[in-house]
């Protein structure tokens, strides 16, 4: 079974440029998460989708970040414009949410460098 797929794996851009990350979750998983992981830190949740609906986006900086999950499968996370402090790894995870079992499976992440 294929895991969570993310692309690109690496991205280098100049500040003020836009950037987008793509995530394909595990087949059948209804919940999708985007996390931010800074160097030497644990992942921090940015947004969680239940199917097509964003049910928790309280930590998403909405002035420059946006996300969408069309048709409840793939998702895109966008930053516009990027700032130097956005350099980090952006992780996507998915799970099949049911009572008592909510294990999240993580993709390899997209490492963003903003120059």
């Amino acid at each position: 079974e294929a895991g969570v797929v993310q692309s690109p794996r690496y991205k280098i851009i100049e500040k003020k440029q836009p950037v987008a990350f793509w995530c394909n979750p595990i087949s059948g998983h209804n919940t999708l998460y985007w996390y931010l992981q800074n160097l030497g830190q644990g992942p921090e949740l940015l947004i969680r989708y239940e199917n097509e609906e964003a049910v928790d986006d309280s930590q998403l900086p909405k002035d420059r970040f946006s996300a969408e999950r069309l048709k409840g499968v793939d998702s895109t996370l966008k930053i516009q414009p990027a700032e130097l402090g956005d350099s980090a790894v952006y992780l996507c995870a998915s799970s099949f949410s049911q009572a008592g079992n909510n294990e999240q499976f993580f993709g390899p992440g997209t490492r963003l460098t903003v120059l």
Partner: protein, 112 residues
């Protein structure tokens, strides 16, 4: 103060040694405790999952939770070079909760 505190290391031990990794937390609402392993340039993968206080063993790995002290541990016996990774403790408030709170991770290196 962070909800979950974890010593970042790095921790370097010889092959075969017993490794002890620890986290403390402040939110008494946490009920489920997890350990994730993250290899370099990979996403975290779930290693151990425990509920409330007590011990859970899985092969060379033992997870221990002490809710009275708000302290959790992961022990690795007979450590192998392949165990070299960053270990993240993580916690959630209930089994259906989706918001995981992660520690900052401990970088572990096992010397052959």
């Amino acid at each position: 103060q962070k909800e979950v505190e974890q010593d970042p290391g790095p921790l370097s031990v010889p092959e075969g040694a017993i490794v002890s990794l620890n986290c403390t937390y402040s939110n008494s609402a946490f009920q489920y405790f997890m350990w994730y392993r993250q290899y370099s340039r990979k996403g975290p993968e779930l290693l151990m999952y425990t509920y409330s206080s007590g011990n859970k063993e899985d092969g060379r790995f033992t997870a221990q939770v002490d809710k009275s002290s708000k302290y959790i541990s992961l022990f690795i016996r007979d450590s192998q070079p392949s165990d070299s990774a960053t270990y993240l403790c993580a916690m959630i408030t209930s089994s259906s909760a989706s918001k995981i709170i992660f520690g900052s991770g401990t970088r572990l290196s096992i010397r052959p």
